[in-house]
């Protein structure tokens, strides 16, 4: 039983970051109809930003997260302006190929700059774990969960309570009508991609210090984000949040009770199962965002 409680605690911590990753991807897919292969690279980018700020420059660890988020916003906006804006109107497969090209460029640039050896970040949190009954968690991971939940809440407010969010929801429902009503759809696309990218960078900045940082960590992150988004239904933010926790649970239980080597296989088995049984995702009432 205590082992099971430990798995649940791990699930919550992992799930928060997975939810962030999934929400970013589902926003981009839902509004722009772009399968974003660079999502995992932005995750890696966020993680290396923490390494740069706290280990290379020696600045405060707590400063790294906001800086990584801003850097993610800027990089996301650049990708959208340089690569996606000229491709507007191309079919989904063509844009996917462009994003794969961008992914390869980004991943290998990271490897060129930082080298192939995995890096770890030292954090100001105490080494001794926090013990509550049978469960023990490190303080860093508690920080990761709290920050992830705060960012999820902020995204929720942004989508549901602000004018920008309203314009994003309108664009999602009907691009042409939204444009007719005076929504600057081109600007909404740029904003959407930038916000989605910054969420991926935030996820990397949070989870990177909890594990090690390597140039190829984005590959598996991209695929996990796809799994989460498919679980929740494309464009469904609440679905992506729940999907993140479901994937984390499946991985924890799979690694704990089946075999740790197949931890990463859980996401793919979920994808295959969901698409064969209920291709619209578990939480798709009608296609909507918010």
């Amino acid at each position: 039983m205590s082992e099971f409680l430990q798995h649940i605690a791990n699930t919550l911590i992992l799930g928060g970051t997975y939810a962030l990753l999934g929400i970013g991807l589902t926003l981009i897919f839902g509004i722009m109809r772009v399968v974003n292969f660079t999502h995992g690279e932005l995750y890696t980018f966020g993680a290396y930003f923490v390494f740069l700020i706290s280990s290379v420059l020696g600045l405060n660890f707590l400063l790294a997260l906001p800086v990584a988020i801003i850097a993610g916003l800027v990089l996301g906006a650049l990708i959208e302006l340089l690569l996606l804006r000229p491709m507007r109107g191309a079919d989904i497969d063509t844009t996917m190929l462009v994003m794969i090209g961008a992914m390869i460029v980004m991943q290998n640039s990271e490897q060129l700059v930082w080298g192939g050896v995995a890096k770890s970040v030292s954090t100001p949190f105490p080494e001794t774990p926090l013990v509550i009954g049978p469960v023990s968690v490190s303080y860093l991971r508690v920080f990761v969960l709290v920050m992830a939940l705060l960012l999820i809440a902020a995204t929720y407010v942004l989508i549901n309570r602000t004018k920008l969010g309203k314009a994003m929801r309108a664009t999602f429902q009907d691009r042409d009508t939204a444009a007719l009503m005076g929504v600057n759809v081109r600007a909404i696309y740029t904003a959407t991609f930038a916000i989605g990218s910054s969420l991926a960078a935030a996820a990397g900045a949070l989870l990177g210090p909890a594990y090690v940082i390597s140039p190829h960590m984005g590959d598996i992150a991209s695929l996990k984000a796809f799994a989460i988004v498919i679980l929740g239904g494309l464009g469904n933010i609440t679905g992506a949040a729940i999907g993140g926790f479901i994937l984390a649970l499946a991985e924890e239980l799979g690694a704990g009770y089946v075999s740790s080597g197949y931890r990463d296989a859980m996401g793919f088995l979920i994808i295959i199962a969901v698409l064969l049984i209920k291709p619209t995702g578990l939480f798709a009432r009608a296609e909507r965002i918010g």
Partner: protein, 343 residues
């Protein structure tokens, strides 16, 4: 004239080992040839049926592992005390089994994944390749996991009574790859120029229209997946017996991307496209290796892929064909217009 181009190209390629002294370049020719065969098989799905399958490396890797394990033999305990033991078989059986089993996997994956389209299809195919990679990595008893399968025997050719020859050398492997490549080209050519191929192209152009005129869409898609996977399996088998060592990295997404870049650059949906793209992307590492690190090569690959999609979205071969196509004279244009209006 145009129909002789493939014959001339093959004849020229057949002379390569006769005058090429540098073993590094010959090695580049062989691996490029193997990946070109894989790209040709991917083109059947990507170019002719219009389905972006990004898990193609799974069939390549399955072919490599099946072929290597058939030739090496294995002893696996499935559950308590129940052993599956396989004695080593001659390599040629491994080659045939690689084709059959990869084709079978193509059938299963096709049956399952063609229930969805577009982004969903892409993600299912990637997931399949990742699951296979994780199995190869974790089923250590069968695959040696990250330690890799080593000492894979080279291909043996020959007939009873005449004698056998081991294809250890690069020259032998070169002709083997060229031969398999020609066979794959001919098979694909006959397939796409038959009724089946026309059905595939029809459903790429407009799936609901194809369905409405009575084309069994799923059947043709699955057929394309089987042939495509089988050829990729053959290429994987060649790869395993040429390198003589394989590890789970053979399933990396980057290899699928390499095949996709070859097809897109050369021109998807054309017979010559993957060959031209393959030659181009086989040549790039040879040219840039003297001054660029592997990461820089990959950055160039990615940038090149983006540039091609922006500048030549149809690929190189269709662009060349348009350039050389006889421009219709004014008279012909008028004639064709009047014939249209007459209808």
């Amino acid at each position: 004239m145009r129909r002789f181009v493939p014959v001339i190209v093959v004849a020229l390629l057949a002379t390569v080992p006769l005058w090429l002294g540098d073993p590094y370049i010959l090695n580049a020719f062989i691996t490029t040839g193997i990946f070109t065969i894989a790209a040709m098989s991917l083109n059947l799905l990507l170019g002719y049926t219009g389905q972006l399958s990004l898990g193609h490396v799974a069939f390549f890797g399955i072919g490599a592992y099946v072929s290597a394990l058939t030739a090496l033999g294995f002893d696996v305990e499935l559950f308590d005390g129940f052993h599956v033991v396989h004695e080593p078989w001659p390599v040629i059986y491994g080659f045939i089994l690689a084709i059959v089993i990869a084709g079978l996997c193509g059938y299963l994956v096709g049956k399952l994944s063609f229930r969805v389209r577009g982004a969903y299809f892409v993600i299912v195919t990637i997931s399949f390749a990742e699951v296979v990679r994780l199995v190869a990595l974790n089923w250590v008893e069968l695959t040696q996991g990250p330690l890799a399968l080593t000492n894979i025997p080279p291909v043996t050719l020959g007939l009873p009574g005449i004698g056998y020859a081991n294809l250890y050398g690069k020259t032998g492997n070169y002709y083997l790859v060229l031969g398999v490549g020609v066979i794959a080209y001919v098979v694909i050519k006959h397939l796409v120029q038959s009724r089946i191929g026309r059905a595939m192209i029809a459903l790429k152009e407009n799936e609901s229209l194809a369905l409405s005129v009575g084309i069994n869409v799923t059947r043709y898609l699955v057929l394309a997946a089987i042939v495509s996977a089988a050829i990729a399996g053959a290429a994987g088998s060649l790869y395993a017996h040429y390198l003589r060592i394989i590890d789970p990295d053979i399933f990396l997404f980057l290899y699928t991307v390499t095949m996709v870049i070859m097809v897109i650059t050369g021109g998807k949906g054309t017979l010559a496209g993957p060959v031209v793209g393959g030659a181009l992307f086989g040549a790039i590492p040879v040219i840039v290796r003297s001054f660029a690190a592997p990461e820089v090569q990959w950055i160039l690959y990615g940038a090149f892929m983006i540039a091609i999609i922006f500048v030549l979205p149809q690929g190189i071969v269709p662009a060349i064909e348009r350039w050389f196509a006889p421009r219709p004279s004014k008279k012909q244009l008028v004639a064709s217009q009047s014939s249209v209006s007459a209808e």
